[in-house]
Symmetry: C2
Subunit: 336 residues, 2 copies
């Protein structure tokens, strides 16, 4: 700083108030080491000048910023919004701010976003899932940035993980449905590799049912319409007695599709979703589905991450339980 006659920023405020830049800095941050009287005077002048501190300068001079980066697959699926709500509420209350972007289920897009996040030198990161581009794992472990993974589960996470064991959830769901006497299942989801969590649930299902037919929609999607279309297609070639769907959205579309073809649910065919959406609570025919602890996951994960930021070493991997929610789209009990 050679030239002290700055026209902008903290220098302008300091000049106007007739104090040093350090006093302004202290006043703005609300830290100790300044008299109340001077602080109030400075704040008043800052307000009058419409002074907005420059976060770039602040982040540059401090080692770590109060920033948490978040990566989601998509905004077009309210289940992620639920987790996010829990996460961000908790994080924000702790005084951090967040930056979010979506990857549209593309690992390469996730890699780019993580790189961009790292360029901001954030305090921590939150990723969705545990399957990442190989660079992501190495970058994050190298950078030693506290990282939370959510939704999925892995006994050896990048840093910490709070989520669901989707293989186990699939097996659990399959077991419950099998108990009801169903024998010819089918699965409707997206093509393998487009949604790692769905692939794992299918894997779990297959550990229970011997030869499930897998009928796969081609594009990644979580829409009512996709469920409906896929169901129509499926019924052309197959006669399953129960259909598992990737999620409740698609299951609901599939339910309507089955009914429109004259099939009785659950007598002729069972329909099973995943996630227990809000929608379900008002439907005259509530879906059989799995309740996922989304808000709890968000809050627990956020707390775990905050603890890590404070240097507390805790449990690294947590799998939360999911609950089977029997609805009116499957039989009540084994009727054989």
């Amino acid at each position: 700083m050679r030239d002290v006659d700055k026209q902008s920023g903290i220098y302008a405020v300091a000049a106007e108030a007739g104090v040093s830049v350090m006093s302004v800095s202290r006043a703005m941050r609300g830290v100790d080491g300044i008299s109340a009287k001077k602080r109030d005077a400075i704040l008043e002048i800052a307000r009058r000048l419409n002074y907005v501190p420059n976060s770039n300068a602040r982040a540059l001079s401090q080692a770590n910023a109060d920033l948490i980066g978040i990566s989601l697959p998509t905004f077009a699926n309210d289940v992620f919004a639920d987790v996010l709500e829990g996460t961000r509420g908790t994080i924000r209350r702790a005084g951090f701010s967040t930056v979010i972007d979506t990857t549209e289920y593309d690992p390469e897009a996730e890699r780019r976003w993580v790189e961009r996040l790292l360029s901001w030198r954030p305090a921590g990161l939150i990723l969705t899932g545990v399957d990442h581009h190989s660079d992501v794992r190495s970058m994050l472990r190298d950078a030693k940035i506290p990282t939370l993974e959510t939704w999925d589960y892995d006994p050896d996470p990048i840093d910490v993980v709070v989520g669901i064991d989707h293989v186990a959830a699939g097996a659990q769901l399959g077991t419950e449905i099998r108990k009801l006497g169903y024998e010819k299942p089918a699965f409707i989801g997206v093509a393998r590799g487009h949604d790692a969590r769905a692939d794992k649930r299918l894997l779990g299902l297959r550990s229970v049912f011997d030869v499930p037919i897998a009928r796969i929609a081609t594009k990644p999607a979580n829409s009512f319409r996709m469920g409906s279309e896929a169901m129509h297609q499926l019924l052309q070639d197959h006669a399953p007695d129960v259909v598992f769907f990737l999620n409740d959205h698609m299951a609901f579309g599939g339910l309507i599709a089955a009914q429109s073809q004259g099939l009785k649910v659950p007598d002729d065919i069972g329909v099973v979703g995943f996630n227990a959406l809000d929608l379900n609570t008002v439907l005259p025919i509530p879906l059989t589905t799995m309740q996922t602890p989304r808000r709890v996951m968000g809050v627990t994960g956020a707390r775990r991450l905050l603890a890590r930021l404070n240097g507390v070493e805790g449990e690294r991997a947590t799998a939360l339980p999911v609950t089977f929610v029997p609805g009116a789209t499957t039989r009540l009990q084994n009727q054989r």
Copy 2:
């Protein structure tokens, strides 16, 4: 820079490559003024050292960053996700990156978020709606930052606006419904002041129907359940012949609620939504609703903003048309 023996950042790369920091800077940015051979060598070394440029330093030294700040009411409503998809796709393709946060319909939260955004010195801002905290307008006009407002319409925006005239949309919807012979309308939404767009649509409706009954849910929400609960409550005290809902989510909940009380739709009562969600295309009883051009709005708005960033002065305020979508939840024609 007194001490040139830096251990980190661009200096580490420069030292390793035996060149100056400027050569590294040029290589990383891919600008002219460096020989291809040297550039490739530098990039190789940067990759080997896991070098990630520091965006804070870059943003500090450059006047304007390649950052666009976005503010949304909430993630828990797919209509915003639709607009966002259009906006961000366009903006990202132009080489900008985005930062997003939600306000949960709270103007004070929006003010804080805008302040935070400004502290990053972004190239531009995108806000939802045209009703902001008074500070927001003054801050943005002061800072002379190109700002796009979406969803709503105002002939005198902060900078540019691309959206829908919700008063006109409400009037249009009311007119269409009135043509069908309905006479005793009711409205179900959130309490006044919680959703400016909904308030405006109600205003428009009221310009068509003389004395609409307004039945208002207390909390801001866009859930199926809220629609269902509000409908049950409404029917306890009133006997409307048509009910307008804040959006399709609530309308669908209300539709189910009406049916569960033994009312025939549309014979006994009409149900009208707003937004034309994807859900609608699979329902056996599609909702009567209004189609909003969400993706187009996002793309058009983004283009307008990009033009502004390039200094092009264009139209400042654009209202996009909405389309009436007659469904099976209202009568087909005036039956009197």
